[in-house]
Subunit: 220 residues, 2 copies
């Protein structure tokens, strides 16, 4: 059932946050999106986020300059000179220390300015990425910290927290917005059509295969 | 008793954080300082912080560009067009939503990069400023959030949390560093010698008077 209040979606233009956006629009009458420009490897993410915000009917789309975050930390997601590696048991080299801490804290300041209390984020414990700032325990702790820091009644909703990639695809099918996935960006190589071979594309394609639903995204 | 490990002091060049710096140097062999350039009304703060870091014998002084924080929020401390007002019962107009949340989170990322676990900050519940992100409950919650976000064993020390301004001055006398106060910046008007009349100067002078210790800072 929709409520008359508003929600803000932390929105990367990727598959997970686009599913969150669909869920938020099912839950709220008015939904705004916020995308962070933190020196991503691929500017295409920002462009797809803008396109998807428009397609979805989000009331307002915010893009916030967070280039300082890329300068603060050293990692391969923001520094083209560091190769992307995936290791077992260790954090992948794409990890930005406390990235979701900063994204959600900035989103919280924006939300208060916009009179919004509910923030959606697509973080997920079940994708085995090993990012500590994607865990439910972190989100619960951060919610409390934000309430104390800003004295504002925040609620952070994480509809994907316990879903597999396949279940996320199935959720999107239930929400009737599978076609939005054609505009989402996943490929670590920054290609569109996507490469279909990098770890991100491989994980994405496995999710669709497991869900028994075809991926509307064009691949090379 | 000093430990062989290192500490990081969140350092504004004001009276409180200079007292924290003296305490940290009494507790640790090696202490680094970090100052945030967030579009302060008075650049003199940054300069005095640099001078004090040098005088104190801090191992390293970091200045981090946080101009984005000033752009994110609207308040009189960073916007010369908004007059400074002090009201009873409401937050003063100098409040930046979540300022200490962002300062301490950035300090935490820096601390980890420098191999430091202990962070000092001069926040204080007893100065009646009404800032929610100066309270002990916030610091406790943030410590937990940072540990979860970054998976690093942070400790945040707040030696001034329960001290009055007079007790802070007395602490500095015990630490034998009262002369450092001559270089600290307090005045809201940005004057050096200080105006002695603005709310910040008045509060400072009352603290010295209550402590029965003369303020070494030159006044107009």
């Amino acid at each position: 059932m929709k409520t008359a209040t508003k929600a803000l979606v932390v929105f990367s233009g990727g598959q997970d946050s686009t599913t969150c956006l669909a869920q938020a629009l099912a839950d709220f009458d008015s939904v705004e999106t916020v995308t962070f420009d933190y020196g991503q490897r691929h500017v295409i993410e920002l462009e797809q986020a803008r396109i998807l915000a428009q397609i979805s009917g989000a009331t307002e789309h915010h893009q916030i300059d967070m280039q300082w975050l890329g300068r603060l930390t050293e990692n391969s997601l923001t520094r083209p000179d560091i190769p992307i590696t995936h290791t077992n048991g260790q954090l992948p080299s794409t990890f930005v220390d406390g990235r979701n801490l900063f994204f959600l804290s900035v989103a919280a300041v924006l939300a208060k300015q916009r009179g919004i209390q509910v923030i959606y984020t697509g973080v997920c414990e079940t994708d085995f990425s090993g990012y500590p700032d994607c865990r439910d325990s972190f989100i619960q702790s951060l919610t409390q910290t934000l309430k104390l820091a800003i004295e504002y009644p925040y609620e952070i909703r994480t509809p994907l927290m316990w879903l597999t990639k396949a279940e996320t695809v199935q959720l999107m099918a239930q929400l009737g917005k599978l076609d939005w996935y054609a505009e989402t960006h996943t490929c670590y190589e920054g290609l569109r059509p996507a490469c279909g071979k990098c770890p991100a594309c491989t994980l994405r394609l496995k999710g669709f295969a497991d869900a028994g639903i075809p991926d509307p995204l064009p691949y090379l």
